[in-house]
């Protein structure tokens, strides 16, 4: 794939690359709906989240182009990590995930007990096009509070990202055109990972679970587990 370098360029490429796919779109329209929540979530601290898996370390790039160890941004705080790509358009894909995170960020900022104890990490699925500069541009929309740590990461190259995806069990594939060439259409199952300050994944949210109140209570539960803020 030839890097276009800018978000606008990516949009153009997508517009072109996506067209052949329309003819063979295989998805079912189904019902337009967001995650439903027809229950009162259990209060924070009334339950224990499972220890699902430990996050393996890796070296990625931050939006300034600096190498950053994944362990440095998945330990020491309660972390919500998700995978995305900057040009994702699916209303119930990456934009929905980041809207949900923005909602959660506002809730966290309003809770003094969580001050400085929570971070978000968004890792690009497309290191080829989501350069540090592209991430810096994309992340501006979400960086409204310099006191809230929201990291946007990419990788120097795809092989650096693959072990991370494998460790998290994050699937991703790329549409090909009629000649078998890769397009700019990525497919991935939306997942968000809640990681405790020790670097242990304690909850995984797929689309049906992106219920902000439940997620906020889960964050509070981990905060209570870790004890009072220093």
């Amino acid at each position: 794939m030839r890097p276009l370098g800018t978000r606008a360029g990516a949009m153009l490429a997508l517009s072109l690359a996506g067209i052949p796919g329309l003819a063979s779109a295989t998805a079912d329209p189904g019902v337009a709906t967001a995650p439903r929540m027809e229950f009162s979530p259990p209060p924070p601290g009334s339950y224990t989240l499972q220890n699902i898996q430990r996050v393996a370390d890796a070296v990625l790039l931050d939006s300034a182009g600096h190498a950053v160890r994944l362990s440095a941004v998945t330990r020491g705080k309660i972390t919500l990590l998700t995978f995305f790509y900057t040009y994702c358009f699916d209303p119930l894909g990456c934009p929905f995930a980041h809207t949900t995170l923005a909602n959660l960020r506002d809730r966290v900022r309003g809770d003094r007990g969580l001050t400085g104890r929570v971070r978000f990490v968004s890792v690009s699925l497309d290191p080829t096009h989501d350069t540090p500069a592209a991430l810096a541009s994309y992340g501006q929309e979400f960086a409204i509070d310099p006191n809230f740590e929201w990291r946007f990461l990419t990788a120097r190259r795809v092989p650096d990202l693959l072990p991370v995806l494998d460790d998290f069990g994050q699937d991703v594939s790329v549409d090909v055109d009629e000649k078998g060439r890769a397009t700019r259409t990525l497919h991935h199952m939306l997942k968000m990972f809640l990681i405790d300050p020790r670097g242990e994944v304690r909850e995984v949210y797929s689309l049906a679970f992106l219920q902000p109140q439940v997620m906020f209570n889960d964050i509070k539960t981990l905060a209570l587990e870790a004890g009072a803020a220093p």
Partner: protein, 439 residues
């Protein structure tokens, strides 16, 4: 082949559809609603978890793959089989959340086999064997494999101490590492005492509700059925409860009295629906689990299945995508029934057909146009002699009649006893991220 894109994040799909659904509305035929890639059109392959039979072929449990696409040259034929190297009472299977892997359990040896069906579903590969369930949990008999995000929730049937029916659920992450265990309740909750038995698992994510059912322990399911029914003591050891759990806390919140071994559970998942349905094996009734205006769950029998006095033994159910119809297989009389569920409080049978001398699992396509049936219940419970037919039969359903489409004779093909079925579709034309970057 049409694959639901509810989890797919792509410009193409988004542009074409503007928005995608998130929760399955029924079973295709009984998958976790969290799973990706539900097949809404023609399935390409049916995978059958098959019990080995001594002296038949290699005698091993195996995953058999059958071509189910009518446009294929090998339609209706066995195109692949992979043996696991022993007999452990192959029974049920479940996909991981991304539908890349199929977990399959043995009720006798408690092993769990993980097959890669995502890379090439026409040629599944065994990639991992998990054998630490008894050591990690004390449970034996892994039955239901239910995908949760990033992990697998497993409903077990028995325990290693006395091999009775008291058991629990276990959780493994998608890498196959043990995560947690949860005992089925034996305490009394809201005046109903739990029996501690387990069987099926079904989740309604919008309600944070996890519903479980109950069957029997190793002592019963690995014993000759004729002996079991003649043993009054053994007949006391079947499940009589369902449990409603808080999915987030994994705490049991209500125990429901459902006598007669309630087996498979199907939620009605369309918005506004507040019910699940199950069938009791021994009492041959459909039971409805509903929530009242106060938010309290209750269970009631709503319809007989066949003639309960003859103990037809309903063994599997399959709900339609709109939750308005239900297939029920009764093992003893070899009959496939269709119930109208338009009014779930009053289901009524509208069709039945004798589909074999013994029939067990029933799975339908998402569009309801194809129905697949297998014959084997358990190695010790299957019929003897000429009634021990072992087959997969595929039917077309036009709303009025089941018309045979194809059949695979598992004895003639020297495969074994076919039990649980799962569908896959050929992958769409896609590249891996690594391949895409390399070109």
């Amino acid at each position: 082949m049409r694959i639901d894109s509810r989890w797919v994040s792509s410009f193409t799909v988004a542009a074409a559809l503007s928005i995608a659904p998130i929760v399955s509305h029924a079973d295709e035929t009984c998958n976790s609603p969290y799973m990706s890639g539900l097949i809404k059109g023609q399935e390409d392959f049916v995978h059958v978890w098959t019990l080995g039979v001594p002296g038949l072929g290699d005698g091993s449990d195996k995953l058999v793959t059958i071509d189910a696409n009518p446009s294929s040259k090998t339609y209706g034929k066995v195109i692949h089989k992979i043996s696991v190297g022993g007999r452990g009472e192959a029974h049920h299977m479940g996909f991981t959340d991304d539908r890349k892997y199929l977990w399959a359990g043995g009720l006798d040896d408690s092993k769990i086999y993980v097959f890669d069906v995502g890379t090439d579903p026409s040629h599944p590969k065994l990639v991992k064997t998990i054998d630490d369930l008894p050591a990690k949990t004390g449970y034996v008999g892994p039955h239901t494999f239910y995908a949760l995000p990033g992990r697998m929730l497993i409903g077990n049937l028995s325990n290693g101490a006395d091999k009775g029916g008291v058991t629990g659920m276990s959780v493994y992450n998608n890498k196959g590492d043990f995560v947690a265990k949860y005992d089925m309740p034996t305490s009394t909750i809201k005046q109903v005492r739990g029996d501690g038995y387990g069987y099926d698992i079904a989740v309604n994510p919008a309600k944070n509700a996890l519903l479980t059912s109950s069957f029997a322990g190793w002592n019963n399911y690995m014993r000759d059925l004729g002996e079991v029914v003649k043993d009054p003591e053994a007949m006391k050891h079947f499940g009589n409860t369902m449990v409603m759990w808080n999915l987030k806390t994994m705490e049991p919140e209500q125990i429901l009295a459902v006598p007669g071994a309630p087996l498979e559970i199907r939620w009605a998942l369309p918005e506004g629906q507040n019910w699940a349905i199950t069938a009791t094996a021994l009492t041959s009734q459909l039971w409805l689990v509903t929530r009242d205006a106060r938010g309290v769950w209750g269970a009631k029998d709503v319809a007989p299945i066949g003639d309960p006095a003859k103990i037809p033994l309903p063994v599997d159910i399959s709900i339609t995508a709109d939750a308005k119809g239900l297939w029920v297989n009764t093992f003893m009389d070899g009959t496939t029934h269709y119930f109208d569920l338009t009014d779930p409080e009053h289901p009524h049978e509208t069709y039945s057909k004798h589909t074999g001398s013994q029939v067990n699992m029933v799975s339908q396509s998402w569009d309801g146009r194809r129905v697949y049936i297998t014959s084997s219940l358990l190695s010790k419970w299957d019929k003897q002699g000429k009634d021990n037919e072992q087959f997969l039969r595929a039917f077309d359903w036009d709303g009025k009649e089941l018309t045979p489409a194809f059949e695979v004779d598992f004895t003639k093909e020297r495969l074994g006893r076919p039990h649980h079925m799962k569908f896959t579709a050929r992958p769409q034309r896609m590249a891996s991220l690594a391949d895409a970057a390399a070109h």
